[in-house]
């Protein structure tokens, strides 16, 4: 596929047009990645509802059947279940354990443990665990699997 890249002067002018014979998984993945920044979903905190951009999310955790979304600004409740958010967000949002989804774009670095799990340090210095069962998927998503 030919790719044309054109530099524009403002954010408003940014757009991506994909012309394809059929919508393959690769194209769907590219669309997900491009849309990642503009995707938003509803969360709540102290009785108020907010729409947050997917790009602001560090990780999402499920505790006692409740879903919590963590951003730089703090923690929010979310009505969606983890598996729904996994499908909704796609892109670099990956399941890193049974109860957590991580935004790979917010990971500063990783360090493997001898047990096979990986400790991921986020941009806010929090450390989350990538379980060994999900390490392969993470590598694959990063194109090194």
């Amino acid at each position: 596929m030919q790719v044309h890249l054109e530099k524009v002067s403002s954010k408003d002018e940014e757009q991506a047009v994909i012309k394809a014979v059929e919508i393959t998984d690769e194209i769907r993945g590219a669309v997900e990645l491009l849309e990642g920044d503009s995707k938003g979903f509803a969360v709540s905190k102290d009785g108020k509802t907010y729409i947050i951009k997917a790009s602001a999310v560090y990780y999402i955790e499920s505790v006692d059947k409740k879903t919590f979304v963590y951003t730089k600004q703090g923690c929010y409740d979310c009505k969606y279940r983890l598996y729904e958010l996994e499908v909704m967000l796609g892109g670099y949002f990956m399941r890193c354990s049974k109860s957590m989804i991580i935004n790979l774009q917010k990971v500063r670095n990783v360090k493997s443990q001898m047990s096979g799990r990986i400790d991921a340090t986020l941009l806010n210095d929090e450390v989350v665990v990538i379980s060994r069962g999900y390490v392969k998927d993470v590598k694959r998503r990063l194109g090194i699997g």
Partner: protein, 146 residues
């Protein structure tokens, strides 16, 4: 499928390490004990026993260490139990396949076992470090700074 792959990889790694250990033992006896290097040989049964030992020693790793997300502190205890468990298997196989008949042979097998154990974990550690580098490099390319 993933577990089968890990099992085969571990089997190959352990069998190879045992073989290297035995070769080192042969060279050691040749240099320091004056044994003829040409007298050093392995029968098909010994080779089979090496592969079997590798396969059986890999099982606890696949069964225990691939499903559990063990906390760092508990992992050391698991590691010690794992090491002792595998040592028991090696001693048992050594007795079954007659790797040793006297105490000195038993000591040599024990030394080889611990060297192989350390070798396998050092190689695993090296793989982890290599993976970390690759992942961190890939993360640098996609990072979305605040």
């Amino acid at each position: 499928m993933n577990k089968l792959k890990i099992w085969l990889e571990q089997t190959m790694m352990i069998s190879f390490a045992i073989l290297v250990g035995i070769i080192c033992e042969g060279v050691f006896y040749s240099i320091f004990m004056g044994d003829e290097l040409s007298s050093f040989n392995l029968s098909w049964l010994q080779l089979l026993s090496i592969v079997l030992t590798g396969a059986v020693c890999s099982l606890p790793t696949v069964i225990w260490l691939t499903d559990l997300d063990i906390p760092k502190k508990k992992f050391i205890l698991w590691q010690i139990l794992h090491c002792i468990g595998l040592y028991v298997i090696v001693v048992l196989f050594g007795w079954l396949f007659k790797w040793y008949s006297h105490l000195d042979g038993f000591v040599v097998v024990s030394v080889i076992y611990f060297l192989v154990y350390v070798f396998v974990w050092v190689v695993s550690l090296w793989f982890h470090k290599r993976d970390d580098k690759k992942i961190n490099k890939a993360l640098n390319d996609i990072r979305d700074e605040d």
